[in-house]
């Protein structure tokens, strides 16, 4: 794809490297690595701070006014339910939109508008989705501060990402396979359902999981729709009120007592571990996808 550039690069590398050139390359490397090291150091510090609190009871206790006995059980359950529900809403809509744009849409004003709009939505600050959720889902549709309202809000937030990832996945299916399916007499929807969708599904799932890894830390839209910061019960249906891990962390960070800051650090370790787990699953899926040969 970039053959000319790499050839030039190789040539240039073979030429004698001058001292200023080496110095600049070193500065560039430092500029790249320094922020990474800073973050590594910050995470290391929070891990050290959090270590005494990271035990089983932290994961299985309800929040409390005493920092030593407070836990993240409702937040953990809330986040899990929220992510599941978000995926259930975002996948069909996002995949449907991607299918329409890739397989059905003719170049038209409407198509161009939809494309432009998806790009615009991707740039809207997440807190504005929260205002939308507050007014439309929580108030007008009467969902209140429920899991469902939170999941709908997050699903809309993820939609541009899911659509873009699904489109990329759809594009990797070679046209020859579709043509073969048409030649066998299958109509369009049957070809999509029987040939295209099964083949692009791992790619779509990878994209969805990566966007969920983004969504798991979303705090602002959930606060805006009014998710609770102190919850001493577990959600029992999609209509029950809830809290989520990032909100619990925010709540603890905002308190003055140092004990709660330790809890926040422990919550952060759990949250980042979950995020890395999701990323890991996505990378594993992608590797599997690349290994598999379909044709």
């Amino acid at each position: 794809m970039s053959l000319p550039i790499s050839r030039t690069r190789d040539l240039a590398i073979r030429r004698a490297e001058s001292a200023p050139q080496r110095a600049f390359a070193a500065i560039g490397l430092v500029a790249l690595v320094l922020p990474l090291l800073l973050l590594l150091f910050l995470f290391g510090s929070s891990l050290v701070d959090a270590w005494p609190r990271l035990d089983w009871s932290f994961l299985t206790s309800f929040p409390s006014r005493k920092p030593e006995s407070a836990g993240i059980l409702p937040a953990l359950v809330g986040t899990t339910c929220l992510m599941g529900l978000t995926a259930v809403i975002a996948i069909p809509v996002g995949l449907g939109a991607a299918l329409y744009l890739e397989e059905y849409a003719r170049p038209s004003r409407l198509t161009a508008l939809i494309e432009l709009n998806i790009g615009t939505l991707a740039g809207v600050p997440s807190i504005l989705y929260g205002l939308l959720g507050l007014e439309v889902f929580a108030r007008v549709l009467g969902m209140g501060r429920s899991l469902l309202a939170g999941a709908c809000t997050l699903a809309l937030l993820l939609l541009p990402m899911v659509i873009m990832a699904s489109r990329e996945a759809l594009r990797t299916v070679p046209p020859s396979l579709r043509e073969a399916s048409y030649a066998l007499g299958a109509d369009k929807w049957r070809t999509l359902r029987g040939v295209v969708l099964p083949m692009c599904l791992p790619g779509v799932l990878t994209g969805v999981i990566l966007s969920l890894a983004r969504a798991i830390g979303e705090t602002a839209p959930l606060i805006t729709i009014g998710a609770l910061t102190y919850v001493a019960f577990l959600p029992d249906s999609v209509h029950s009120e809830f809290t989520a891990l990032p909100i619990q962390i925010f709540n603890w960070v905002s308190r003055p007592q140092a004990g709660f800051h330790v809890n926040a650090a422990a919550g952060i370790i759990v949250l980042v571990a979950l995020m890395l787990l999701l990323n890991g699953v996505a990378i594993w899926l992608r590797a599997r996808l690349q290994r598999r040969i379909y044709w």
């Binding site: 794809m1 970039s2 000319p4 550039i5 790499s6 001058s18 050139q21 560039g28 490397l29 790249l32 320094l34 922020p35 990474l36 973050l39 910050l42 929070s46 809509v93 449907g96 939109a97 890739e102 849409a105 170049p107 161009a112 939809i114 494309e115 709009n117 790009g119 615009t120 939505l121 740039g123 600050p125 504005l128 989705y129 205002l131 507050l134 007014e135 809309l156 759809l170 594009r171 990797t172 299916v173 070679p174 046209p175 043509e179 048409y182 109509d187 929807w189 798991i216 830390g217 705090t219 602002a220 606060i223 805006t224 910061t229 990032p246 925010f250 952060i268 949250l271 980042v272 990323n279």
Partner: protein, 335 residues
């Protein structure tokens, strides 16, 4: 990272798709549109039509979302501006909607937002640009393959985590260096925000630099220029619009960023550019009101929508500019 366009349905319309396209994809011109076999027996079956309508409805959800955001912001803001004049909104220097002596001048919130954003860009721009030049022009392929995804990880860290770092590690550390730095201030969160938008600037700038055609570099070498001179005199200027777009997108991200400033910058709207004192940004104000129990329908409740509308317009404007610059880069005639 990018897809090769093998699918015949992928037409020129994709070139207009913002965000997802990288310049590398744009360099291979889209293949000519092949006859879609499905056209031959255009489905007349009712089920096919229903499927098509359902899929179109999915695609329209995104339009409805945009209309919803605009509609909600405009409707509630209209209620707000019925009671507060535009002149007061932009002219009054105080923002005290929760006090008895109410003032609704958004200037302090704008100043807070501007301050944290400028600090973030001052951090992210030099680091991001250097990193981008290094990765695109100097890094061995192996380093590139490891470091670029590592940088993407920075972009994925939840912002509530960044907020925690800003409040409990960065600000205390800065207090040793900067005299009279308050516990809540604009400096700490600004710097952390810079780390957060660094990947945006680095990654998009790298795309732009990498997309500069080899022929320009070769011409420069042929004229006897060294590598550094080629990079700074030829490559970076050629990639300028792409780099500018990346910076503008970074700025837009910083303006919309919420949790870092809500946690670490304080909640005191203040008409100042002093980075050492507590301030409040537009986003942090929305969070502050959302956490309290302001009854719906009151003027205080409507303020968050008026502030939200401001935020929306500013980010929309910046994104549109960045989009145009990127388009210019993608169609820049590098063929």
């Amino acid at each position: 990272m990018t897809s090769s366009r093998r699918h015949p349905d992928a037409t020129g319309a994709d070139a207009a798709a913002p965000g997802g396209d990288s310049p590398r994809a744009a360099r291979s011109s889209p293949p000519p549109r092949a006859a879609d076999p499905a056209d031959l027996l255009r489905p007349r079956a009712r089920s096919e039509r229903l499927v098509r309508i359902f899929l179109l409805a999915c695609a329209l959800v995104s339009i409805v979302t945009t209309l919803g955001i605009v509609g909600v912001l405009v409707r509630e803001s209209a209620g707000f501006f019925a009671e507060v004049s535009l002149a007061d909104f932009f002219g009054d220097g105080q923002w005290t909607p929760l006090f008895d002596d109410k003032h609704f001048g958004i200037a302090p919130l704008l100043a807070g937002t501007l301050l944290t954003t400028v600090i973030a860009v001052l951090v992210a721009l030099p680091f991001g640009l250097l990193a981008a030049i290094y990765v695109a022009e100097f890094a061995p392929e192996r380093v590139r393959r490891v470091l670029k995804p590592a940088l993407e990880v920075l972009a994925g860290i939840p912002t509530v985590v960044y907020g925690y770092f800003a409040l409990l590690y960065v600000t205390p550390a800065l207090q040793h260096v900067v005299p009279k730095l308050a516990g809540f201030n604009a400096l700490g969160p600004g710097i952390v925000m810079g780390v957060m938008i660094l990947p945006v600037i680095a990654s998009l700038s790298e795309d732009a630099i990498y997309a500069v055609p080899a022929s320009l570099r070769e011409a420069s070498y042929a004229l006897g220029a060294g590598r550094l001179r080629t990079v700074f005199r030829v490559v970076v200027p050629s990639a300028f619009s792409g780099i500018a777009a990346s910076v503008i997108l970074g700025v837009s991200r910083a303006i919309g960023e919420t949790m870092i400033v809500a946690i670490a910058a304080g909640q005191q709207p203040r008409w100042t550019l002093d980075p050492r004192v507590p301030i409040e940004t537009m986003t942090a104000y929305i969070v502050q009101i959302s956490l309290g129990d302001t009854p719906t329908g009151t003027l205080e409740y409507r303020t968050i929508f008026a502030v939200g509308l401001c935020l929306f317009l500013v980010t929309l404007l910046l994104n549109a500019v960045a989009h145009r610059l990127r388009r210019r880069m993608l169609q820049g005639g590098w063929t």
